[in-house]
Symmetry: C2
Amino acid sequence: MKTTSSSVLLGHVQGIPIKIHWSFLLILGYVAFINVRAGADTPQVIWALVFVLAIFACVVLHELGHALTALYYGIHTRSITLYPIGGIAALEKIPEKPIQELAVTLAGPLVNVVLGILFWLLASWLTPQGIDLENASLTISPSTFLINLAAVNLLLAVFNLIPAFPMDGGRVLRSVLAMAIGRLKATQIAMIVGQILAVIFIFKGFMGNPFLILIGAFVFFGAAQEYNSVRYTSVLSLHQVRDALMTRFTLLSLDTTLAQVRELILSGAEKEFVVVDHTGRPVGIFTRDLLIAHLSNQPEDTTVGQCYKPSNLTLSPDQSMEEAYRLMHEHQIPIAPVLENNTITAVINTENIMEYLMLTEGGEE
Amino acid sequence: MKTTSSSVLLGHVQGIPIKIHWSFLLILGYVAFINVRAGADTPQVIWALVFVLAIFACVVLHELGHALTALYYGIHTRSITLYPIGGIAALEKIPEKPIQELAVTLAGPLVNVVLGILFWLLASWLTPQGIDLENASLTISPSTFLINLAAVNLLLAVFNLIPAFPMDGGRVLRSVLAMAIGRLKATQIAMIVGQILAVIFIFKGFMGNPFLILIGAFVFFGAAQEYNSVRYTSVLSLHQVRDALMTRFTLLSLDTTLAQVRELILSGAEKEFVVVDHTGRPVGIFTRDLLIAHLSNQPEDTTVGQCYKPSNLTLSPDQSMEEAYRLMHEHQIPIAPVLENNTITAVINTENIMEYLMLTEGGEE
């Protein structure tokens, strides 16, 4: 949710939206600032900024390495977003076979290795007198641009392969472990290794590199979050939709007005609704967030039929809760109707599934 | 919520719990680490750690300066918590008169000024040959301890008075502006000034002081959060409880079992309930969080009567929504019964109030 509103869409590759987070502007400002402060002239500052943009283009290619390999296994990528500390490819799901996860993960750093070699060869070809590594300058200029870009790509490959889950190297560790001891236990070990490395990153960061602090925080919380997600999934697979059914619910018809939905939401605790057509067949969903968005620019007598989110996802009480949660996630809907004999007998929402988990895990402890 | 679970209680002063956040341990580890790395011997490391603890004792006294001045105006402080970037005194509310807020705010830095002078005098008295400021060492040893502590206290006073709302200096700015243009507008201006300074802090931080980055982030988000809170309060004061009543709700009786509450929560959207005795009189509340906490160590047939949260707060439909929100915040309950002619005709919860705000503000835009 937050990603969408604070990022700018750059374009699409194979249907995958490539976005850039606003905070990326801070990096450009920062690079310009330290260069100007160090006494650089205007061409030097511009070269430095172009260099930063070139690095981030390489990061996009790294993420496309993940995304296109995932696509080969039939897994779509929701988006690729660039942050100041790197890129994130939001895959719709993690490949089920560890060997496939391994391939998807390694594809990213491999892109950087290939780019590094290419830029190195190009730099060698453009400077026939040979590259003077001894006196190579860290200042970016037309003559040092390519060789520095080659070096950064090789550094990116190496850095990403540090086994700090959820960084690439940590994912490699997880998928290799998963082949031997299963995904849940493998993720737990990868999380612990990742969090230990994150603390080391943060300490190192306080010695002078603030980016390492941000990366450390990302690794520390990311590792725990992914472990929890895997843990929930494995618990959810043991239960069925029938265990967490919401039997007290309100259905919305297509001709309900926004004013009526507003009244309904304010007078009770429900926030998300299944929308049905005049035959009682589910056609989509409507939520408080949609209501807020539409009330800001549409009259109160607009009907749900004009602005609901269509969805053909229906669930059965016999499905596993893990499958239900995954399908709702893939369809990007927080609530879904549960059908028995073609009739909606209940609904289930993601909050209720999490609620069920909390109550089940809490009760088992 | 998070504060309670991740902080350790040190003790009470005037009934105010003094807590220390776990991340504070990282600071001690960090200080020990950089000293050892710089070749310090064991006594030097111990002196450095004692010095850090002394600084944080001064920070506690700074926060007590705020808290005890607030108490003088009849405002209690929920807790004082120490974080690596400073202390936070969680006042139950902000004084209504700007002049009182000014006094409460200035009391903190004033404590540091007084402490600075005291330590300076003590250091002078203990070194009759005079303090050699020219050759003063930054290494902490018995002979430099007091003079360095004096210097840190004066620095703390000056740093806290930088007008970066919600830091003390920003609160001074807000309260002075509030006397002229009202609290809402004053907070908005203080927020903007604070956020500009926060960006400068963060930039400066990236030049080598990571603590400034953390403080910058705290100021940036803290400023926006406090402004929103003031804005919400001023919008809420325009509306009445009757506007956001929940008329579809479930009451719990004292002999409802935890198993029954579990079923009720899972089968519907309600998460918080008003508890009534056998005469129908409201006696307290029960929530999903309480259910999870109790299910983990009590049998399912435990009754709500054995573990509900007592509360005698009742609201009337004619009260302002701002007052209702403030009272629920002060009683620390997320839901309250609304009475007409001594009968519960509705309930209202904080989520519904926020929902009403979102829908009202969204509709007005």
